[in-house]
């Protein structure tokens, strides 16, 4: 039994490790500095009454983009309105867009199943069931839209996390107001640009949503990889605590395959 079992186990372990190495080396560029944004202000081309225009999504997303760009992050794409497209976040084209950067930010309408664009390719909704992110490069997806990460449907978003890929995503449990300043404030907290002590990615989203929105009936949220003690269930490692590359303790390695099924979700009232 030993003679058969151990070589077999060794082969399996080696094969597993090799496949991990191929995925990481072949896809993730490893530099963790590219950023990209997409935002929709003009939903009129859709001609759907219940998807009205928004005034502030451009300022919201570009605020985040500009603050990080000024801090040395590499701007890769800045797509608004008709230049933005649901396919950029879905499996069909994400390798050239969202999954071709390390941090992507979307601002626009959203609901519990996805976020909305002004194009029809084919249905103006970047839906969770069409996404697999992080299999190439993306580490974090930041969504400034209503109800993406809604409490009752939070676990469906785990399906977009590619193996060894996406570290986490942010969003809202409830609605959110059309704010122009959330993105820049978030970037300030991520980088300590304004003199405030550096925050982790999770705490930066928490601080920014609380300070910017200041409405106790609105709940923001985060969903990220985590590791728990398999016996006690105590949280031992949480990507919520990651910091931006080059800041503080920086980024963590891509999620350990041992814990690939473990996630952490938190929501909070956005009140100062």
């Amino acid at each position: 039994m030993k003679l058969i079992g151990y070589p077999l186990l060794t082969i399996l372990v080696l094969a597993s490790l090799l496949s991990v190495g191929v995925v990481m080396a072949g896809n993730d560029d490893g530099n963790n500095v590219e950023i990209g944004i997409e935002y929709i202000m003009d939903y009129a081309p859709l001609g759907i009454w219940w998807i009205p225009n928004l005034d502030n999504t451009g300022l919201d997303a570009q605020g985040w983009y500009n603050v990080l760009g000024n801090q040395g992050f590499t701007p890769v794409f800045n797509n608004g309105n008709q230049s933005a497209d649901e396919s950029h976040f879905e499996r069909s084209d994400d390798a050239d867009w969202a999954d071709n950067v390390d941090f992507a930010y979307f601002a626009g309408h959203g609901n519990s199943t996805g976020f909305l664009f002004a194009t029809n390719n084919p249905n103006h909704l970047a839906s969770y069931d069409q996404m697999t992110l992080g299999d190439q490069d993306l580490e974090w997806l930041f969504v400034s839209a209503c109800s993406v990460l809604q409490y009752s449907t939070r676990w469906q978003w785990c399906n977009i996390f590619a193996s060894y890929g996406l570290h986490g995503m942010t969003g809202f449990d409830t609605s959110m107001p059309d704010t122009p300043t959330l993105g820049s404030l978030f970037a300030y907290y991520l980088t300590g640009t304004n003199g405030f002590p550096l925050r982790s990615i999770g705490d930066a989203w928490k601080h920014a949503t609380i300070d910017d929105i200041d409405d106790g009936d609105i709940y923001a949220a985060i969903l990220c990889r985590a590791q728990y003690d398999p016996v006690t269930g105590i949280l031992t490692f949480n990507y919520y605590d990651e910091q931006m590359p080059g800041y503080g303790s920086g980024m963590y390695p891509d999620p350990d395959p041992m814990f690939i099924g473990n996630y952490y979700y938190e929501n909070w009232a956005c009140e100062d």
Partner: protein, 328 residues
């Protein structure tokens, strides 16, 4: 003082009945709506939604005689590191070891504070020239605890009351006199998932509203004490200001009808709901703080507070409070 109260009571007692027809098109509401109305937002199966007003009919049965309110200025408080140190080391905060000072430069104001420089930067205490204050501990960061045992809501309220009493003695600005805290509610402030995906509450948010001479201050104004495991205060936001009356009154230049007609529908990044009628049941003048603590502000504004009842096509009624500016 007495005359102001009389004015307020008279304003508050005026009942206005009006009907606004809201019509968006020939669409029906599909399925059962779970009305969870907050600040003008609906929540249905697809998340929260707003409503739009495209055609409005207002019938004022009574025209209220709404009078001016005293103008309230926000007087800046000088801050320096010695003041921060005094407050940070006081009983409610107890920031002692390795204290590091910071000055954050926000949109048009500053924040002066202290924190423990241990990599994560907690606990942290920040003071603002406006009088606002905020405090965060490592436990506010949520994921540090596992299935915390929280005090009851009543216990949390008592803990928050005691904490605020300590803050009042800390040397930080604390609203007194005509500016009074009024307890509002205790709600879950944050929820986290455990290893099995179940959610638990990290801490309670004990909320207080603030009134000036009995007149509510709406908008970015209020107090939240977050009470976590073991009754520990894990965060505190004193979103108040150092208010000083100018001696003048704010001239009300907009009638309630004009204000309501110009009141924009809430804009959110979700989908709106149609077919709503609205009955305005009450209107009064209140103060409003129009920006958050990261912005500078010279004075509070005065707004109408409309208490309205929304009715959907199935006859279900939902209460709502709307605010609209009372000055041009």
């Amino acid at each position: 003082m007495a005359s102001k109260k009389i004015i307020f009571v008279s304003i508050a007692s005026i009942v206005i009945v009006c009907t606004i027809s809201l019509w968006l098109g020939n669409f029906s509401i599909n399925g059962t709506l779970d009305y969870d109305l907050d600040y003008g937002y609906y929540k249905d199966g697809q998340g929260h939604a707003s409503f739009n007003i495209s055609e409005t009919v207002v019938i004022w049965e009574t025209r209220p005689e709404l009078e001016a309110l005293p103008e309230l200025l926000i007087e800046k408080i000088p801050l320096d590191e010695s003041i921060v140190q005094q407050v940070a080391t006081s009983a409610p905060f107890k920031i002692h070891a390795n204290m590091q000072f910071y000055q954050a430069n926000w949109y048009d104001t500053i924040e002066l504070g202290a924190y423990i420089n241990d990599g994560k930067g907690y606990p942290l205490l920040g003071l603002f020239p406006s009088g606002a204050i905020r405090y965060y501990t490592p436990e506010w960061s949520g994921q540090n605890s596992f299935a915390p045992i929280l005090p009851s809501e009543a216990e949390a309220k008592q803990i928050a009351d005691n904490f605020l009493s300590e803050v009042q003695k800390s040397g930080a600005f604390f609203p007194t006199g005509e500016q009074q805290l009024v307890f509002s509610e205790v709600v879950p402030g944050s929820q986290s998932s455990d290893a099995w995906g179940n959610l638990y509450t990290n801490y309670w948010n004990v909320r207080y509203n603030v009134e000036y001479n009995g007149i509510p201050i709406s908008g970015h104004y209020g107090v939240t004490v977050s009470v976590g495991a073991g009754g520990q205060v894990v965060a505190f936001n004193g979103n108040w200001r150092n208010l000083v009356p100018s001696g003048d009154n704010v001239n009300i230049t907009v009638t309630p009808q004009q204000a309501l007609e110009s009141c924009p529908p809430p804009v959110i990044r979700g989908t709106p709901v149609s077919f709503i009628s609205m009955t305005v049941q009450d209107v009064k003048l209140v103060y409003s703080c129009d920006v958050g603590i990261l912005h500078d502000l010279d004075s509070l504004s005065v707004v109408y507070e409309f208490s309205v009842m929304l009715t959907d096509t199935n006859g279900r009624q939902i209460p709502l409070v709307l605010y609209a500016g009372a000055t041009a």
